[in-house]
Symmetry: C2
DNA sequence: TAGATTGTTAATCGATTAACAATC
DNA sequence: TAGATTGTTAATCGATTAACAATC
């Protein structure tokens, strides 16, 4: 078991494996080969085996992979023993939708507090939580051991926050703002969900489909 | 001017270049070198020059890049002469937020119609548009020349749609569902925004930060 | 045992980085 | 002209794919 560290592309594929394997498990499938799985995933048998071997390789030579085992092993990898604690910054349209998503559809992450700048809504209840003033989030994170910051503020607000983010002691940022935290500080783990950038890329690819 | 086709990583970076260059332009900066830009982007001078050369290279040897020119050239690349026409499938929580986003924050894409399965809301007005029945979207797309399908339905609904998507004649999908259109059909251009997968990847990276 | 399929090493491919000649 | 910085070619790096020996 060489168990080399999984590269970022591998980590990104892990949730997809988990989705398909959960489906297979629910259908009652017991064993699956790397080529069958590759077919489902739209990848190659080699890649499937390489990927799983990053985590120790849970297959059986000559036989294939046990769906049950795969499922529980990947589950262990993706869902830590203790749920991560997340906090939302920015309770606008997008922020509220994301908060709702985390509360209802995310298994490994707990949303524990919501912050906003707008005095008109501070103090209001949202999903049973009180909307707190933005300038109190650093203290909250320090006291309440917050792991993830979900940033749904406009770019300027995010930029203004950059310093506080370090102080807050969080480990990662789920970033929906147009401010790139990662450029300034690489000790933080950042996942950017730049909707505008993503749509622009799609639009570019559609428009320039037949270039050359 | 070799102008080789831009690879996907390059296309993904293009919107970020555009963001920073727009900022520079607004600040009144006139010229910038590849190393200054690399510094802002968190990349390398080589990468900046390589990237721009995919599109013909708009720099001046010995001098650098004109911010004005860069801006207008990248703008031309990202925003086609005719705005792309998009349609929303699924007017739930997420769908409405995305629709709002496209209407207010997206320059190159026009949202022209909204579809949903829920009889309780079909016929209602949303952003001035009538919510249409889901089973009419293929016909609508064919008649109204729709370019992009924004899929914000649950996984099962998306899966059920897969065949109709081909018939509809759209060129690309902005996919928020947990159904992978791309695996089944590679003639479509698909951008996946798998929020759950993305959050899982973040969560994994935080939890396994210090592995080895 | 023979067939199948993994784990793992080697080959290939593509993207990033470095180097340098061209030129403003 | 000398200095700076690009465009472009070459080298490096990493990820994907292929090959094959191990083994169930």
């Amino acid at each position: 078991m060489p168990t080399m560290k999984a590269s970022l592309p591998v980590v990104r594929r892990l949730p997809r494996y988990y989705r398909y394997i959960t489906e297979l498990k629910n259908k009652g499938t017991q064993r699956i080969s790397s080529s069958q799985l590759a077919n489902i995933m739209g990848s190659t048998p080699s890649q499937v085996r390489q990927d799983f071997n990053c985590f120790g390789g849970f297959g059986q030579q000559g036989v294939g992979y046990s769906v049950e085992l795969l499922h529980s092993e990947i589950e262990k990898l993706l869902f830590p023993a203790e749920k991560l604690r997340a906090v939302l910054l920015g309770a606008g349209n997008l922020g509220v939708t994301i908060a709702n998503f985390v509360l209802k559809e995310s298994e490994g992450v707990n949303l524990v507090a919501i912050f906003d700048n707008d005095k008109a809504i501070i103090g209001n209840k949202l999903f049973g939580m009180e909307i707190r003033p933005m300038d109190s989030f650093v203290e909250y994170c320090q006291n309440e051991h917050v792991d993830i910051l979900i940033v749904c503020t406009p770019k300027d607000a995010a930029e203004a926050l950059a310093g506080d983010v370090i102080k807050s002691g969080v480990k990662g940022i789920w970033n929906y703002s147009h401010f790139d935290f990662s450029v300034r500080d690489d000790s933080l783990i950042v996942e950017n969900v730049h909707l505008r950038d993503n749509l622009m890329a799609l639009s570019y690819r559609i428009t320039h489909k037949d270039d050359e």
